[in-house]
């Protein structure tokens, strides 16, 4: 629509911006390592279960897998997709609604479709 106000940053502002971007980038790399770590644990648990290692029961692993998946998704959404930043109220609202409905559907399919 109307013209964009072009704002020229001063050298200090530019540097500050870049520093912020850099630190946020470092943050994201850390989150990435966390995600890789969670994935590794998930696969390891399942492999351990398959190998019959004691202490790895279904009822322990399945909730853990779901928890790790949920954490990973949270990291993706909040860090990689920047939902933690300002101006993401609308995305948050609609993603949460989507997740709520999206959770409801598998739940009902698992409970009230019978054989």
């Amino acid at each position: 629509m109307a013209d964009i106000q072009v704002y020229t940053k001063s050298a200090a502002e530019l540097e500050l911006g870049q520093r912020r971007a850099k630190s946020s980038m470092r943050n994201q790399v850390m989150m990435f390592s966390l995600m890789i770590f969670l994935t590794l644990i998930s696969f390891t648990m399942v492999t351990a279960y398959g190998a019959g290692v004691a202490g790895f029961s279904k009822f322990f692993i399945i909730p853990m897998l779901m928890l790790f998946a949920a954490v990973q998704v949270g990291l993706q959404l909040y860090y990689f997709m920047h939902m933690n930043e300002k101006g993401h109220g609308i995305p948050q609202m609609f993603m949460y609604t989507g997740v709520l409905l999206g959770g409801l559907i598998p739940l009902t399919f698992l409970t009230i479709i019978w054989w």
């Binding site: 072009v6 279904k58 993706q76 997709m81 995305p91 609609f94 993603m95 409905l101 559907i105 698992l110």
Partner: protein
């Protein structure tokens, strides 16, 4: 105002993806689209869960025997890494470093391509074992869920390839900045879906 106007790092806005009304519209619209996609995949997951291991009488396939974790692990690593590379690309978008952004996007695309090749290999392998789309409800649901994800990856690859080549001469501006940004949102979303696929389909499938 010319949307193809050239910028410098000094004039480049902090949030190029939301700097103009068109960009803001695209940004919000794309997030809404992802909200809808969430429900789409949830429905596919629900269908898969309801039909898991279901087949005609004498059906011989089960999730435990079928799935091969090492392959899935490699695929997961490829896709997760591609998520990080696309974050790097967005970092350079923010810093108005077009060359580096293109480079990282190119790496993202290559990783995505590798993922897709492995998925195709996986499917071909399963079909070779006799686990075809039409042999049971389970196979139909499996191929549809994982295949829909694969289809999204393929669409993403076409998209980013077009973007990279189309803009290679034009450089960054406010017209294409949002396009790159929405692509990265899309790519992360594909990763989100994959997290659930490897957890719910493969890992839980192996556990049974």
């Amino acid at each position: 105002m010319d949307l193809n106007k050239k910028f410098t790092p000094e004039t480049w806005p902090d949030h190029p993806e939301r700097a103009t009304l068109e960009a803001k519209n695209k940004f919000v619209g794309f997030w809404l689209f992802l909200g809808g996609e969430t429900v789409l995949f949830a429905t596919l997951f629900a269908t898969y869960l309801a039909l898991k291991n279901k087949g005609p009488s004498g059906f011989g396939f089960s999730t435990q025997e079928l799935y091969q974790l090492p392959l899935v692990f490699v695929m997961t690593m490829l896709l997760l890494t591609s998520s990080l590379t696309s974050v790097y690309a967005m970092y350079h978008l923010k810093n108005y470093n077009f060359k580096k952004m293109q480079l990282w996007l190119g790496i993202t695309a290559l990783l995505g391509l590798a993922f897709l090749m492995l998925e195709v290999y996986e499917f071909v392998h399963y079909v070779g074992e006799g686990f075809t789309f039409d042999n049971s409800a389970f196979s139909s649901a499996f191929y549809t869920l994982v295949g829909t994800h694969g289809f999204h990856v393929a669409i993403g690859l076409v998209w980013i390839t077009l973007l990279i080549f189309r803009n290679s001469k034009r450089g960054l501006n406010l017209y294409n900045g949002t396009k790159f940004y929405t692509f990265s949102l899309y790519w992360h979303f594909i990763d989100v879906v994959w997290v659930f696929i490897f957890t719910v389909v493969y890992l839980m499938g192996v556990i049974g």
